[in-house]
């Protein structure tokens, strides 16, 4: 019940932040209305990165404590992280088309970094689907989550350098994107959207975690069912053999 209330609060907050960003805040002088995409885009990108951090920390915790609840948290964070990261990339492309003229801008280090982040997250989720045993799956997932999280800063640096060691970044810097006629309102719109998305993020995390626990019960049930079926078959076999003798 409490979770449901949180969900409704999140929904209301997103609607409120969207109305604020679309109606109250004026359009950007240079980018026009396209700049409004930045509010959900930046918020989801930040939360996506946060999610993968949570996955890695929960993975370390799992290897240390061997508690499957930590693995469920890691799983939930990875799935929510993939969702938010994909949304951030989609928003970035929608923004890039009118502002840069192309959907995909190789010059922008954040875009390339985020794309790799999404690939790492999807790989993590696929890995989980291919392991049946809960403990084994948790161990493998934890290792992949940790190595991926260590790789992210290296990816980020390498992509920034790749554009040219001598150039300074022009795109992708939030302080430059929010360089407007009414700075206060822009910052409030971004922060409001970030707060709303964070509530939704918390709601999705809780729901996904609950779902993971239900999934265990089903898995456990299936395993017990298979064991008892095998036992029944063995007992029946013994009876048949006895009577035939």
């Amino acid at each position: 019940m409490k979770t449901r209330i949180l969900g409704f609060v999140g929904l209301a907050a997103v609607i409120g932040a969207a109305v604020f960003g679309l109606v109250v805040v004026p359009a950007d002088l240079n980018q026009g209305d396209a700049q409004r995409i930045m509010y959900p885009h930046v918020a989801s990108a930040w939360l996506g990165e946060l999610s993968f951090g949570v996955t890695a920390l929960a993975g370390i915790g799992y290897l240390w404590r061997r508690d499957l609840r930590l693995d469920a948290i890691a799983h939930a964070a990875a799935e929510v992280g993939v969702l938010f990261t994909a949304f951030a990339i989609w928003g970035g492309m929608m923004w890039g088309r009118p502002v840069w003229g192309v959907y995909w801008q190789w010059e922008d280090p954040r875009l390339a970094t985020t794309a790799l982040l999404l690939a790492l997250g999807i790989g993590y989720l696929l890995l989980r689907r291919l392991s049946d045993d809960p403990a084994r799956r948790a161990t493998r997932a934890a290792v992949v989550g940790i190595i991926a999280a260590l790789d992210i800063p290296i990816i980020h640096f390498s992509v920034i350098w790749w554009r040219g060691l001598h150039q300074t970044p022009t795109f992708g810097d939030p302080s430059k994107l929010l360089n407007p006629s009414a700075p206060g309102l822009f910052v409030i719109a971004l922060m409001g959207m970030l707060a709303a998305f964070t509530i939704v993020w918390c709601y999705l995390m809780i729901r996904r975690y609950q779902l993971a626990r239900i999934e265990w019960q089903i898995e456990e049930h299936g395993r017990l069912g298979r064991i008892s079926a095998a036992r029944r078959a063995a007992a029946l076999n013994a009876v048949v053999q006895e009577t035939s003798e």
Partner: protein, 229 residues
């Protein structure tokens, strides 16, 4: 100190075992080299007969061939263990798991280095690149790249070797991880071939070295958990 020495001895013994079985078996390593060289030939077809374009793209193509060949190399190093049921034996040895990781990673790095040493002259011939004048930075780049790829590959091959669909899972998990390695190695190779006019080479080699160190530490720290599962 003696702990370190014992670990190093274990690692060397494991690497030596892998190298020996590779040299005596031979079929697999030969096919991997041939496969990587074939990839380089096919890149030539894909990019057309314009030799100037091939020369420009050569560093990237070289490293893609090394990555593709490397995926097969690191997968095979663990495949051999599992096929003979040796993985369990390896896990039961009363030695430090980090030493086992170091041994497998060393064997992988040597195999990758051999791959690079063969592919460099192939690239030089096929794409008309003068590698003679820049041999020292090129070898350094290949060596750092080989260590980094083996560091990630050993951990990920150990992770996927007993999985369903491992043939697709290993590249799927590894390729995004080695993206910065690919990027830095291609840049370092390009810069080295151009004679490093802006003095960037050091920065890219440092990035490669940083990647190597981070991944070696991460691999050594997690490999033990993978052996147990």
């Amino acid at each position: 100190m003696s702990v370190l020495r014992r670990g190093a001895a274990t690692a060397l013994a494991i690497a030596r075992k892998d190298a020996l079985s590779e040299l005596r078996g031979r079929q697999a390593s030969g096919s991997t080299l041939f496969f990587a060289a074939l990839v380089l030939l096919l890149f030539g077809f894909a990019l057309g007969p314009d030799s100037r374009r091939l020369t420009e793209a050569a560093p990237g193509l070289l490293w893609l061939a090394i990555v593709f060949g490397g995926l097969l190399t690191v997968a095979r190093l663990h495949q051999l263990e599992v096929e003979d049921g040796a993985m369990e034996q390896l896990a039961l040895y009363p030695v430090d798991r980090r030493a086992i990781y170091a041994g497998k990673a060393l064997a992988g790095a040597v195999a990758m280095l051999a791959l690079g040493a063969v592919l460099l002259p192939v690239v030089a011939i096929l794409y008309a690149i003068p590698i003679g004048s820049a041999w020292l930075p090129l070898i350094t780049t290949v060596a750092l790249g080989a260590v980094g790829f083996a560091a990630v590959g050993t951990a990920y091959a150990g992770l996927t070797v007993r999985m369903r669909a491992r043939e697709v899972m290993l590249p799927l998990l590894m390729l995004p991880i080695v993206a910065p390695l690919l990027l830095a190695a291609v840049k370092a190779t390009t810069v080295a071939l151009n004679g490093d006019p802006f003095g960037e080479l050091g920065a890219w080699l440092q990035l490669l070295a940083a990647f190597d160190i981070v991944m070696l530490v991460a691999g050594a720290g997690t490999y033990g958990f993978l052996l147990e599962d």
